[in-house]
Assembly symmetry: C2
Homo-oligomer: 282 residues x 2
């Protein structure tokens, strides 16, 4: 395996040499091979740096990472680190997509003018300032896109933006779609808390009580991976059942409205007798 | 096409002759073929009876069904009736499954004793009355199963019960799974209302304003069918994004807990200097 000096390692990891030295001094990297007085590093060290940096981006403190790495000097520590990274993997959203701002409507499967639908919306800057810029601003506010250089945008949640395009194509105004999306995120946020609490109370708490043993890691990993399809199935099943009962209630309501308007028509056309006949099963 | 007398039609539809005559007198069936003085019916009449009965089960009043059928004497009325039935089709839950009560654990992929997990649960009848009966009672209370004759049960929401079995297999207690399911149904109920309201306000209201024109039916049908995949995609995308941020927050929390417990250990083992070193990046 090719090995290289610390400067090369830092360069490959996109870090400063100084930060790499800090990690080394805290024992976060496996020992280097010594060539005389010079330490030599390999891709194994690079992997570890990526892992540690990934955990830091996820909110892990260096102190916590140290604890995990030192828990057991070999394989088990690596497993523990991968575990925490693995806890997020099943939920990683679709990769963002970068496109020209002008291409957004086309990317959503819409004619260019469809995204001018926000023109003159009372909450916005009003007529005269419409066009793709206003729509982009609204989508940015909704956390769905962000700027990516001159005339370019990054679509942060491609599947959601695509579903929004589908809804607009069905004739639902963009503003109504965006409002629904906000409420949707609120409710799914509560649902996510239910599942994470379940995991925290029923699985994680026991692992903490046992002192975070390395041999408990495979079980945690199994639960985390297994919980993802279970949560998805349960969510969809629950949603389908509730959609059905909500649609039932809606149809019952419109059924009432149809009979009433028919009864009113009949009363107008036929006089009292007609009304009576029309109403006999209501 | 074979035709048959009204008694045969009623028998095939599982209805009384009297009720069929009521439908005929209200003009809910297409005209019969007359063979002398006897009316003869065909499978076309049977289809119509199924449709009308289906709508009644869905909460439609006979009055509303009359309006729909009379709106236009031929094809369009049939289309309108199918429309309302179609509004529910995409959300129809999985077909119920009937099994022996004793076979439930096996059907859920669990060992027989797994469903005794509710034994002695404080909310239940307490120890001594445990066993499959108590569990079945709890599942029935949750609306997941219903009795289907001696020793038999009907699983009303098979996908949900299967997901519950998966969760128990991951080591999560049945009672915790059932509690989560209740909260889940509550939140998905709110989400279902969002989508049905969107449909009611943005699509249905316009159709009512136009006087429920028969030529508007194909558009409503398209929207209803198209909304199902859009709603499912949006729900999953939203849930995935919120699961990720909730897991991020959870990991940040446990990271803090790990460092704290490590700091406490270090303090105990190494004295004040150790504590200081361990805490320097918190």
């Amino acid at each position: 395996m090719a090995d290289y000096p610390i400067e090369e390692l830092a360069h490959r990891a996109g870090m400063s040499v100084r930060n790499v030295r800090t990690y080394v001094s805290r024992g976060l990297l496996p020992p280097a091979r010594m060539a005389g007085r010079a330490a030599r590093y390999t891709d194994e060290h690079l992997d570890r740096l990526d892992l540690v940096n990934g955990l830091r981006r996820r909110g892990f403190t260096l102190g916590a990472i140290e604890v995990l790495v030192r828990q057991d000097p070999d394989r088990a520590a690596e497993d523990a680190l991968r575990l925490y990274r693995g806890m997020l993997a099943p939920w990683r959203p679709e990769e963002p997509v970068e496109i020209d701002e002008d291409a957004l409507a086309g990317w959503m499967g819409l004619p260019p003018e469809a995204l001018d639908a926000l023109r003159g919306d009372p909450g916005d800057a009003g007529p005269g300032t419409a066009g793709p810029g206003v729509t982009t601003a609204r989508l940015r506010e909704a956390g769905l896109v962000e700027p990516a250089g001159p005339g370019r945008i990054r679509i942060l949640r491609p599947d959601m933006v695509r579903a929004g395009g589908d809804a607009v194509r069905l004739g639902i105004p963009l503003e109504a779609v965006l409002t629904l999306r906000e409420h949707l995120d609120e409710h799914t946020g509560h649902i996510a808390e239910l599942f994470v609490e379940l995991f925290a109370e029923q699985v994680w708490a026991g692992y903490v009580r046992d002192g975070l043993p390395a041999e408990g890691v495979p079980r945690i990993q199994t639960v985390v991976e297994g919980l993802q399809p279970v949560a998805t199935t349960a969510l969809l099943s629950s949603f389908r059942a509730r959609m059905q009962s909500t649609m039932d209630a809606f149809i019952e309501r419109i059924s009432g409205e149809i009979s009433e308007s028919a009864a009113a028509d009949a009363a107008r056309l036929l006089g009292p007798r007609g009304t009576e006949r029309r109403l006999d099963d209501r």
